[in-house]
């Protein structure tokens, strides 16, 4: 973990992400999915469903949720938690939008049980 990772990294502009869609940030540690909701809220999660590792960036975004394309788990974009009765968590990354510029920190938030939230 180098010092760069703590910084807010400029990753692109809001309009680069389709509304109700997602884009991927490819990193050495794996992909991060950056989502944009219908209301232009932006969220970032590790691009792995806690269920079977499906790429969440490929799912349909609705409300503040994304449906995993593999087995339809619903993951909350703001918490990374799977909707009950499923249980699991995709790590959240701090993200913010200022003047249309999307910035991200590469260190995931605390709060996901089990670090990156893979269920066993």
């Amino acid at each position: 973990m180098n010092a760069m990772n703590d910084a807010w990294l400029q990753v692109g502009r809001l309009e680069d992400i389709p509304r109700q869609g997602a884009r991927v940030i490819a990193t050495a540690e794996g992909a991060i999915a950056v989502f944009r909701t219908v209301d232009d809220e932006v969220f970032a999660l590790r691009d792995r469903c806690p269920h079977k590792g499906g790429p969440l960036s490929q799912g349909i975004v609705h409300g503040k949720r994304v449906a995993c394309p593999l087995h339809d788990w619903k993951i909350a974009l703001d918490t990374g938690l799977a909707a009950a009765p499923d249980a699991g968590c995709a790590a959240r990354y701090p993200v913010r939008v200022e003047d249309g510029v999307v910035r991200l920190r590469l260190v995931p938030d605390e709060g996901c049980p089990g670090g990156h939230g893979e269920s066993p």
């Binding site: 692109g12 109700q20 869609g21 940030i25 490819a26 950056v34 499906g54 349909i60 609705h62 339809d72």
Partner: protein
């Protein structure tokens, strides 16, 4: 602002279901008080029978534990009935003197068992079968006494008798009618039932009318004679008719003697230490009547479950709707949904009455009854009877509609019959198969029609997609207290993928949860985002000229801001189908496969299937595919079931480049990923085959050229066989052509896969031009009228082959118009999505936003 106050009188299933629905849609609207006469939280009354039978415990049947009330901020008052409603002051008062004010009052006072007004009915040891106290009294009696008499051979009486027998009592069932359950069963079925129950040790006395309940001879040393005379006044003091075999009643059980025998109008008597009255229920309307509410065999309510006082609603067994008071749980839950909708001030749902069905909850006995099984004028009965195997089925048909079903010994198809009955489906096209059922037994791997759901071992896999076993489902239903198919899907994943085991899961739900309230409502909303059905949504899109997804959601009052992954793809398809040349496709409302034009695989890579017209290819094409496979390091190349070549493991970011190379070799997308025209499979045909009658390959190419690129409600496959040997398997395709010497047979509505369905023969035509026109017309009819994700096979079963024939064969002008609409929509659909993306469209879909080394 203060919240409005809602008071629920009656802490039972109907009232509490209404509250749950209300809390779901308007959680903050009311300050809620629940007042129940029983000293328990809400429990599943239907499961009292399994509790009595010792198959479940009281704890297991609690639906809303005390904690639930606390969590939802509900004030719960138990153990004290409401005795007064002051409608002027808008408050209620309990027997203890507690008061609660209301802005809205919900009455769910249920019903009371009807106690025969015979002398001795008030003796100790005479109970109904209605609540936990009754069950406790029955269990207590079974520990200490021997002889039980159940008066009433209906559903409840038989369940009580079975339970008492299992608890070791000698049980006699007394019934007035000539056969058991005469309101649900005809005589042959009832006889089978009786034999079965007799084999379990129950005794039956039919056509006996109870004249009196007699007190037992006074216990030794007891001073009960006086009481006996007083309670049994008017009845001659009974001589000691029978020697008691069981233990004597314990002294100190009250000063009155206990019931000791039942006497009939013919003068005969049977010993009885316990008498269960199960002759019927009566809506409990005393409270409503005392408050001056209009009652007529129930508290009279309108279609919004409102009583004559607009602030007061009534649901459940106490309510009388259009002259009917329901005693089964499915209708009560339908009422609950409507009442909650109005209490939540949404005000658009109406209750129009229910069709009910009955299932007996006696382990080892399969019995199902729905609708009017007696028939009557103009009706016909279809009967199957196998007394040795103990199977009897009677279906009553009137005007091509199923109006009643009575099943004994094999009830697996009960839910299907109930759907047909409730939906009024025309059975004309499959009348000959009706009795033998839908064979709806999950996927073909275990499609044994003889299998008995109840007899399946717990380890049996029910859901083949998600590997869910029967035991898992049953446990989840019990432990998580699941009521609906959707809940079972969410908790177990059973039936959540391909859906072929839905019938089995519904059966397990009915069996385990004890009632039939798992049945899907006849009008199924598209998803939880809306109240509207698929058909309503489509109609609105057409009639209101809705041409964009947000417009459609706004007009139809969608409950979520932007839908979900169920409704958005459906809406997108409906809009596309309705306005083919105007609608702007919404990529974000498409499943990833259709958005990325490849099939997503479990590792996130994609598979690529280039189109090969009619399955024909050539060395140049094969070389191009080989080059692509090598250039992009494709890990696996496979031939598909539809005669195409599949390249597996292509990385998403490589897709546009792969497509560019394929496109340059002349390929277009094979749409192997979409709810779309997939492939046209062909056999060799007359050019080479010594049996071939016609050029099946050439016709296949023409059909594929005509239909490729079209979006469909579901995947859609064609095939052309050159002779009746049918090597292209055209009779399990959505549209199949079988060439014969004299022309072309057109077959529709087949599919392989989950549940194999062989096509129906639609027509025989003479020329290739006709084949193309009929194919275009049939395809367009399916596109315009099937629901999203409904394949042609279930669609045809739903609408009937006669309907399709009427539209395609009988109406030549309509057929040509359908074919024309199909061709018109194809003009904009036949744009190769691969080439477009290879040329730079939708780049963002295939490239990372940013790549960090």
């Amino acid at each position: 602002m203060d919240k409005m106050k809602l008071v629920l009188v009656g802490n039972g299933m109907a009232g509490m279901r209404t509250l749950e629905e209300l809390l779901r849609i308007a959680p903050e609207l009311y300050e809620i008080t629940v007042i129940g006469a029983e000293p328990h939280p809400n429990y599943n009354r239907i499961l009292l029978s399994p509790v009595l039978a010792g198959e479940q415990t009281l704890d297991e049947i609690v639906l809303n534990p005390l904690q639930w009330y606390a969590e939802h901020g509900i004030r719960l008052v138990t153990g004290s009935p409401v005795v007064r409603i002051d409608r002027a002051r808008r408050c209620v008062e309990t027997a203890d003197g507690a008061r609660a004010d209301y802005d809205r009052l919900l009455l769910a006072t249920g019903s009371d068992p009807f106690i025969l007004p015979v002398p001795g009915a008030e003796l100790p040891g005479v109970v109904g079968f209605r609540d936990i106290a009754d069950v406790e009294a029955m269990i207590d009696a079974s520990d200490r006494y021997r002889h039980a008499v159940v008066i009433g051979g209906g559903l409840l009486g038989l369940e009580a008798a079975n339970g008492l027998k299992l608890r070791g009592m000698e049980v006699t069932v007394v019934h007035l009618a000539p056969w058991l359950m005469e309101r649900q069963l005809d005589e042959p079925a009832a006889r089978l039932l009786q034999q079965n129950l007799e084999a379990k040790g129950l005794r039956f006395l039919l056509q006996r009318q109870t004249a009196a309940l007699l007190p037992s001879p006074s216990p030794a040393g007891g001073g009960g004679v006086g009481e006996r005379v007083s309670v049994a006044s008017g009845i001659p003091s009974p001589p000691a008719l029978h020697a008691r075999e069981g233990p004597l009643p314990l002294a100190g059980e009250g000063s009155e003697p206990r019931v000791g025998a039942v006497r009939f109008t013919d003068g005969s008597e049977v010993p009885a230490d316990l008498v269960v009255m199960a002759v019927g229920i009566r809506p409990n309307v005393a409270l409503a009547e005392s408050a001056g509410l209009h009652c007529n065999r129930g508290v009279v309510v309108n279609d919004t479950l409102q009583t004559y006082d607009p602030r007061i609603y009534a649901v459940g067994e106490c309510a009388s709707h259009r002259g009917v008071a329901y005693g089964l749980v499915a209708p009560l839950f339908e009422q609950a949904r409507v009442a909650a909708n109005h209490l939540a001030l949404q005000g658009f749902k109406r209750y129009a009455g229910s069709v009910t069905s009955t299932k007996l909850k006696v382990t080892g006995i399969d019995l199902y009854s729905a609708g009017d099984f007696t028939g009557g004028e103009g009706s016909e009965a279809i009967v199957y009877s196998d007394p040795i195997a103990g199977v009897y089925k009677k279906l009553v048909v009137k005007d091509d509609r199923l109006v009643g079903a009575c099943l004994y010994g094999d009830t697996l198809e009960g839910t299907w019959y109930f759907e047909l009955l409730r939906d009024g489906t025309s059975i004309r096209d499959f009348r000959d198969k009706l009795l033998f059922g839908r064979h709806h037994l999950g996927d073909s791997g275990h499609g044994d029609e003889k299998a008995r759901l109840a007899a399946l071992p717990d380890a049996t896999e029910i859901c083949g997609c998600n590997g869910v076993k029967k035991g898992d489902i049953v446990r989840a239903i019990r432990e998580q207290r699941l009521f609906t198919l959707d809940e079972v899907r969410a908790h177990t994943k059973a039936s959540a993928s391909c859906g072929s085991c839905t019938g089995l899961v519904e059966g397990l739900l009915a069996m385990t949860a004890g009632g039939d309230y798992s049945e899907a409502p006849s009008k199924k909303p598209v998803c939880a985002c809306t109240e509207h059905s698929h058909d309503e949504v489509r109609r609105a899109i057409r009639e209101q000229g809705l041409k964009a997804l947000p417009d459609a959601m706004r007009f139809l009052e969608w409950k979520t801001p932007d839908g979900c992954n169920k409704c958005r793809p459906a809406l997108n398809y409906y809009l596309l189908c309705a306005w083919p040349n105007e609608y702007q496709d919404d990529a974000q409302s498409r499943y990833i496969n259709e958005r990325a034009h490849g099939n997503i695989q479990k590792d996130g890579s994609f598979s690529v299937v280039p189109r090969m017209w009619g399955g024909l290819t050539n060395p140049k094409e094969l070389r191009a595919i080989a080059d692509v496979a090598e250039k992009f390091g494709v890990p696996e190349v496979k031939v598909t079931g539809g005669q195409r070549i599949d390249l597996f493991g292509v990385k998403k970011e490589d897709l546009p480049a792969v497509w560019r190379d394929l496109s340059e070799a002349g390929f277009v997308s094979g749409h192997a990923y979409g709810k779309a025209l997939r492939t046209v499979k062909t056999c060799v045909g007359a050019r080479w085959c010594r049996f071939g009658t016609r050029d099946s390959t050439g016709l296949g190419v023409k059909l594929e050229r005509m239909t490729w690129g079209s979006w469909m409600p579901h995947k859609y496959k064609l095939a052309v066989s050159g002779c009746p040997r049918n090597c292209a398997e055209a009779t399990i395709k959505d549209f199949g052509v079988v060439c014969v010497d004299s022309g072309y047979e057109l077959h529709v509505g087949g599919n392989g896969g989950i549940k194999v369905r062989v096509t129906d023969l639609l027509a025989k035509v003479d020329t290739e031009e006709e084949v193309l026109e009929y194919c275009a017309a049939f395809t367009q009819l399916y596109r315009e009228e099937a629901r999203y994700l409904e394949r042609s096979a279930p669609w045809i079963e739903r609408v009937g082959l006669s309907y399709v024939k009427a539209r395609i064969l009988a109406d030549a002008e309509g057929r040509r118009a359908l074919a024309e609409r199909f061709r018109a929509s194809q003009q904009t659909a036949q744009v190769d999505p691969w080439k477009a993306r290879a040329d730079g469209a939708e780049t963002h879909e295939f490239t990372p936003m940013l790549t960090l080394a």
